[in-house]
């Protein structure tokens, strides 16, 4: 039979057509399923294929001084990052990019570590790339798949280290920080304030990051920078208006003795506004922008001078004679004495109490003094007796009530609590019950013993004396509420005026004569010396002016300055500058005064049985508590 008979061919043709229709039908069904039924799924895959989210960092709010001058601002900077890709690819690209961005193998590992934490965001290679590096990279753009050079606002502190402790610095958020509720919305790799105002007001300064999408090719090259998908604009941070007087701060930076350690705090006594807050030595906050150089960070932390420590609020010093005003105020308030009261024993260079001989700083003695004169001369013997007359309990009670054992509440992070006994049980705890005597009162009365204050705490005490006797929490940024006052010293106006007059005398004829008169205006103040085991005593001076109606109170401490009289001109010049008086007068005054800090008490009968705990001087406190330095968290290495 002929296999090509038309009927047979027709039959086979039917089979062939059937096969064709079935297979075409299957193909059409497969495309229907992929393109119609599963379109959404593949559309999404297509988008994720080609779109990469790039965070747009919000510019941080600028920080301004009281006159609108810039303390911290943003300047344009460039970040270099690589779009997420497979780790092998990233490593290869990093290897090629390394010579240009000067990245060593440890740096490459750091980039990869950061990438592993957030594999869906661009891996930051360099947070602050100089312009020549950016152009070098742009030229070779095609060699580096996924290279992303993004202009980003970069934090800049025009005055560099001048107000470093006050303003603080910014750094990349760490894992531990993100665990806190406050910083939870910050994306990994985002910047947060690490210290000072930057940290305190981080929430409002930070703003909100935006996001944009770039389109990438299969090789990871960025193909389209804009327009691939809608961009979410970043919300800039709100500007921060501070009460600071940049002019004054700069002036302090100029006149603060070079190479010395210490701090200066200037307040408006009537409001609590912080006009200046200076701590030396300082660090360069600009060095933290874009990741601190590990070498610089190590130097800062290992330095003997602890530059990261804010000596105005984080360091405690024995207040020395500056404390005497507190004791005098307590005695006046309780009616124990008046300004004309004399003590039973005139000063002959010392006072025997118990088994010990407590010396006055003036070996020759001051003779019989009134309270006013005792303040002016800073006579230790007078205040030993005043302390005893006031009584230990009253002294502790008032000091605690006046906030001398509490933070001032200044709006800066990391403020230290002053060291001071909260009550007599403190001595029970430290020495054991009945193993101490009221002899501790003598030391406490002249600002020694178990007493170490922060500068800002002492300045606030003088702020109370310089205003109406009420405390006002110091603030850098005006708080939302109206300026309510804190504790009241309960001193009459006459008593306050008398204390001020005594302090004017300190400056004009007493221990602080080097502060002097500035023009027609009188400065009131008190010196102090804080003994310490590391070397010469630290010098204090806290003063205010004009003495009759104070507008500024300035406190300064200079470590190892021998005594407070050396610090007095510094404060006087700051005050003069602020009040617009001639500072040259203050500059020329140089007086060498003996220390007004009492030498250690001497045993009257050597080898007498130990009443030791009661009478021995507690070791002067270390001015730099090691734990306060360690509390500063290191920023993550970039």
């Amino acid at each position: 039979m002929n296999p090509y008979h038309p009927h047979l061919l027709d039959r086979r043709l039917g089979v062939a057509r059937g096969i064709l229709w079935v297979t075409m039908g299957v193909l059409a069904a497969a495309f229907f399923r992929a393109q119609i039924l599963e379109h959404g799924k593949y559309q999404l895959q297509s988008e994720t294929n080609r779109l990469r989210p790039i965070p747009l960092p919000a510019p941080r709010g600028v920080i301004l001084d009281r006159n609108g001058r810039v303390l911290a601002e943003n300047v344009p900077g460039y970040t270099v990052s690589l779009l997420p890709a497979e780790e092998v690819t990233l490593r290869r690209t990093l290897g090629r990019i390394a010579p240009i961005v000067r990245l060593d193998s440890a740096g490459i590992d750091r980039v990869l570590t950061r990438y592993r934490r957030v594999p869906y965001l661009p891996a930051l290679v360099l947070a602050d790339a100089p312009f020549d590096m950016v152009s070098a990279l742009e030229e070779r753009r095609l060699l580096f798949p996924g290279l992303l050079i993004q202009p980003e606002p970069k934090r800049y502190y025009p005055d560099s280290s001048l107000a470093a402790h006050l303003i603080g610095y910014v750094g990349e958020v760490t894992e531990t920080e993100r665990a806190q509720r406050r910083l939870a919305p910050v994306r990994l790799g985002g910047l947060v304030g690490k210290d000072g105002l930057e940290r305190q007001y981080d929430d409002s300064l930070r703003g909100g990051d935006g996001v944009r999408f770039v389109e990438v090719s299969a090789l990871g090259h960025v193909v389209r920078e804009a327009g691939a998908a809608p961009t979410l604009k970043p919300v800039p941070g709100t500007p921060l208006h501070t009460a600071l007087d940049l002019d004054l701060q700069r002036y302090i930076g100029q006149i603060f003795p070079a190479g010395q350690r210490g701090a200066v705090v200037a307040l408006n006594p009537n409001t609590g506004e912080v006009l200046a807050l200076y701590s030396a030595p300082a660090f360069n906050p600009n060095a933290f922008v874009g990741g601190v150089n590990p070498e610089y960070w190590r130097r800062l932390n290992e330095s003997e001078t602890h530059p990261l420590l804010n000596r105005a609020i984080q360091a405690r010093y024995p207040p020395g004679s500056t404390w005497k005003l507190a004791v005098a105020a307590m005695a006046l308030k309780r009616g124990v004495v008046t300004f004309r009261s004399r003590m039973p024993i005139p000063c002959r260079g010392g006072l025997a109490y118990g088994n010990r001989y407590f010396r006055c700083w003036e070996p020759g003695g001051h003779g019989s003094l009134t309270l006013s004169e005792a303040i002016a001369q800073s006579c230790d013997v007078y205040f030993y007796q005043l302390g005893l007359k006031l009584g230990l309990t009253s002294l502790l009670e008032d000091a605690n009530q006046w906030g001398l054992h509490a933070r001032t509440g200044i709006d800066l992070p990391g403020e230290t609590v002053p060291e001071f006994p909260s009550g007599t049980e403190y001595f029970d705890r430290v020495y054991g019950p009945r193993r101490w005597t009221t002899a501790v009162t003598l030391n406490l009365a002249i600002g020694q013993g178990e007493n170490a204050q922060t500068l800002v705490d002492m300045v606030r005490l003088y702020q109370m004396l310089a205003s109406d006797g009420r405390s006002r929490s110091p603030y850098v940024v005006h708080p939302a509420g109206t300026g309510e006052t804190g504790v009241d010293m309960n001193l009459t106006a006459a008593q306050l005026a008398g204390l001020r007059q005594a302090m004017i005398n300190v400056v004009q004829q007493g221990t602080g004569r080097s502060a002097g008169r500035v023009g027609a205006m009188s400065i009131a103040g008190k010196t102090g010396s804080a003994q310490n085991p590391h070397g010469p005593a630290h010098g204090w001076f806290i003063g205010f002016a004009p003495a009759d109606k104070p507008e500024i109170v300035v406190g300064a401490i200079v470590e190892h300055a021998e005594h407070g009289s050396g610090v007095a001109p510094l404060v006087a010049r700051v005050i003069a500058r602020y009040l617009g008086a001639d500072t040259t007068v203050a500059r020329t005054i140089r007086l060498a005064l003996p220390t007004d800090t009492a030498p250690h008490a001497r045993d009257i009968l050597p080898g007498a049985p130990a009443d030791t705990a009661s009478v021995r001087d507690t070791a002067p406190l270390d001015t730099v508590p090691p734990e306060s330095t360690r509390a500063v968290t290191p920023p993550p290495h970039r």
Partner: protein, 415 residues
Amino acid sequence: MLSRLRRIDKPLAGVTVALLVYGLAALYSAGQTDVPTIAATIWQKQLVWIAVGLTALVLVSRVSPRLVEWATPYVYGGILLLLLVTLVVGTGAGTAAGSRSWLAIGGLRVGQPAELAKLAVILMLARWLAARREAPVTLREVLPPGLIVGVPFALVLLQPDLGSAVVFIAILFAMLFWAGTKPSLLVLVASPAIGLILAFSTVAWGIWIAVLCGLLVWWRPYVWEGLAVMAANVAMGIIALPFWKALAPYQQSRLLTFLNPEVDPRKTGWHIIQSKVAIGSGGFLGKGFTHGPQKRLAFLPAQHTDFIFPVVGEELGFVGVLVALALFAALILILLRIARRAPDPYSSLCVFGVAGMLFTHIIENVGMTVKLLPITGIPLPFFSYGGSFLLACSLAVGIALRVAWESRRSGYSES
């Protein structure tokens, strides 16, 4: 000339021109990327090849089928020679750089002889089957056509080019079928291949052997033939593993990836995943001509050759896909009609063989883009860039045009 033009088979010419235009448009779009690729200006080269192909088409349509039939053995022999030469001096290209499928003269790659070999095999098979005037009924009678296909098949497989080799097998079965071979015999011929595939699962292979026993008892071939078929199947079960190991790693991974593309989404699975994403994201109407992002951003691999169909799917959507499939279906149906009406068995077999070849290419290429079939790099007729294959297709259409003209001239009428 004009009268001759009027007498050509208009549907075939029309569909061919439509496919060439559609294919060229797709190829043009494939070059429109945001990432520089070699495909940017490839449509211009394809235009040259189309001119070459159309010239060849016209020339072949002027040649009598008798002359073609006479020349067939020489053509076949020449092609075998070319394949042998290719095997010795051939070079690789593109995705299959390790293979030797390209013939180069003086460093310039001129073509892939395997594509033309398909046409030569069709002509040779048609000549042998037509000369017999009877359909093969025994396995022994299937042996000569098996050899006609087997020699070029083996040469192509050695290149290695698995995709093209599969097309040879498809052509063999299609033409045996059109020559009137009983389906049962075709199943027996195919059984060793089925046995080979099923041998990867012992249970499936066991069931297949049992089924085969039943079929042999039912169909009652010659005893020795039945034994040979059984022996071949058992042998396949034994050599399956060595055969798997003999496959090139890329062939193994392609097969494995077909079974599960997520095994290695970045490497072997990349093609199929990106292809499906491109097609699926096209949706109903597509992203617009030349605007497909997957293609533009080079996510789609080999978008101008093997994976040109996803470009159509992404940019013209389901509608574009249906139009393309309809054109292909129309082409095959027209070729089937011509084969049916051919004035002599040789012409009929030739045209049916051409239909089978094109059908295999279309199904395999389109099927792999939606993961219905494993990836074998064979081109899509009239779409994929490639001179040799376009020439082969043009020649095939030229032959079909001539056959249609012959049948009309011999007074064939619908009955």
